[in-house]
């Protein structure tokens, strides 16, 4: 089963994401912040990471940079919001593969995940 790591500090977003992915046959693991994501990544070995950009302490970009250090082939899609173009840009530069804009529609999330997992 394709494994997805969902990283977001907002409980509601995690819940939505996990629900959507689980319903579509993915296995989901959640992390509530960057440090937790970095801890879980090597253990859980997800196929795709959905990583929220705006998080307290260690934000999505820093987390991404660290993830890429752990696994240069990590397939990370950033979860972002309208108006965060500059952040997305840095994320893409840092090695993010794709991104999803909040509030996201289910189709787009699934498309992104499918593309990265495939």
């Amino acid at each position: 089963m394709t494994k997805i790591l969902v990283v977001d500090d907002a409980a509601f977003m995690r819940m939505r994401c996990s629900k959507l992915l689980t319903e579509n046959g993915y296995e989901v693991c959640e992390a509530t912040n960057g440090a937790e994501a970095l801890d879980k990544y090597p253990v859980y070995k997800p196929d795709v990471v959905l990583l929220d950009i705006t998080m307290p302490k260690m934000d999505g970009i820093v987390t991404l940079q660290e993830l890429i250090k752990i696994d240069p082939a990590a397939k990370v899609a950033m979860v972002t919001a309208m108006g965060q173009r500059a952040m997305v840009m840095s994320a893409l530069k840092a090695g993010a593969r794709d991104f999803v804009v909040k509030p996201f529609d289910s189709v787009r999330v699934l498309e992104t995940v499918k593309k990265l997992a495939g």
Binding site: A11, P56, V62, R85, P103
Partner: protein
Amino acid sequence: MKLNADISPEEWKVFLEETEEQIVMLDNDIVRMEKESDNVELMQEIFRAAHTIKGSSGMVGHTRMSELTHAMETLLDKLRNRQLEVSSHIVNALLFGLDALKALKQEVISQEESDLNIVPIVARLKELATAERGITAEVVAGQLVLSPSNLQEIKEALTHEYSIYKIKTGVPEDSAWAAIRFMQVLNELGRLGKVIASVPTALEIEQEKVNFKLEVIFSGLADVEMVRTEIKSVAEIQEVTIEHLTEESIFGKSVKAAPGSEEHKTDEQNQARTGTPKVHALANADSQALQSVRIDVKVLDNLMNIVEELVIDRSRISRVGKVLMAKYENDDIIRELGQTSNHIIKIINELQENIMKVRMVPISTIFSRFPRLVRDLAQKQGKKLDFNMYGSETELDRSIIEQIRDPLLHLLRNSIDHGVEAPDVRLKAGKTELASVRLEARQEQGNIVITLEDDGKGIDTAKLKEISLKKGLITPENAAGMSAADAVNLIFIPGLSTAEKTTDVSGRGVGMDIVRTNIDNLGGSIAIETILGKGTKFIVRLPLTVAIVQGLLISSAGDTYIIPLASVMETLTVARADIKTINQREVIRLRDSIVPIIGLEKVLGRSTKPTRLSEHNLVVVIKAGERLAGLVVDSLMERQEIVVKPLGNYLGDVEGISGATILSDGNVALILDASSLAKMMVRGGQDIEHLMAVD
């Protein structure tokens, strides 16, 4: 109201809880922002809160909420990136937006759309966000020109038998993400081969200097279709044309070399990807934050109930144990039972302590709302305030937290309304324009002490006396013998207000007497220290919890009652000769005060006969606010830790009784409520009130 129907009740709950949390945070932080615009952490926190609400509200389909938070977020983003300076206009607009946000959140709860129009609020936020913006994305419509180093690269690629492609693509002209899409295309191509040059360049794309077209020279082993598929995998990308370039077409005519043109930045890009960015060692702090869980308040209350049951059993076990030990002192089994029950008692004590701890909530949950309120009030009245709070982390039982909010709010309002002077008045008095108001909470020997201190005009005790006299609240004799320290307490007498005129801020009919009653009901106390012209300090003392209290067991006409120890001032034996009658009411003199006394049975209405007095009477003097009253009882029993249980719906509110408890012998006893008892005693003897009003 049209919301996302796909959201489960559980999800709604999380949404509402989280949104409320963020709103409270914003309420506090936006006000702080005005003072602390340099505080990077704060600015980030504010931004994140708005951002989180935006994301969630979008998901639940609350369009207006997400539109509003989007506008707030855009403005906040500019502020945190220092593209804009924090100004009072901006803070006002944000607070205005926050109020609208609260109303919109309410819509979710009530499931009804309000008539709130967010269009002007959003427009204002947008206006502020764009007002001083200096940077506009420059649209560069360049032509692909290859530098000598590009050409060198191409030559090398060709010697490795790589294909060279010229790729043209674009995004729709209404796309907000053109630069991002192009960056994605370059990234995809970078994974497939090498981007030799592009228009716009990688640097330009990064700076968002793009229009809606992208041209790339690319080298790699992939065939045309692979390249096309990769590019097409990027969202929003429209048609892709790929031209396979031959050596001749490049070095012959189709691509011209232009010395001195900008080199592209692919190398830099790669460096950024593999470089070693700085990371702060936050892992520990983060995992610490994870070691907390959210618990439904109901579960907590249930746990508390269970522990209360145990506390009652503890008293019973302890009592039975004592009896058994006295009776069979030398029996090994009894001794063992005694040891075990002592251990159980110890464990129950620890359990009780821990559950109490779990129920503790930091006072910041109410403090956090104050800065906003203070700012609004001060602005409304043209007063300049430096408001500071300390000890927000101090913890109190959540039931106390809930009940102390209004009294504190009232004190704070009073302080700003009546305590602090207008800037010009302050200057005349030789003070600084900026008034200081300081709110502090701290723990002090099993109590929580909250102080509110201002450097305003202080309370005029002479004036208080004068008004009290005029209103007939005290007698001239009272007034004459009253020290300033006593006179200041006149402020707590119902019906007294020193404000010459009431404003819409305070003086809405909720007086200081209500403040005191509320605090009394919590088993707390309030004191005032004031110096005329210098300022006032209110000191509120509260118990850590109300669910389990120390009580004095008394008996009257064969029934056992409990008086919370906090309400008992003293107990005394009074000889019949010392009891006087004023206006057909029995009173005693207690030091400087006249204290009415009455049989407990009579005041509770269980007996209509006058209180029968004996030669020596046991009197429990209770204190309710400034009122003292003596209850004549049959006997005083022991002091016990008791669990306060409400009477329940079946009995409803019974005057004079605040609840019931189960005693260690298994019997139920009623808990007396000092403040309502004192009121009941006063009724029917109006003149007594005057005597009792001041002690």
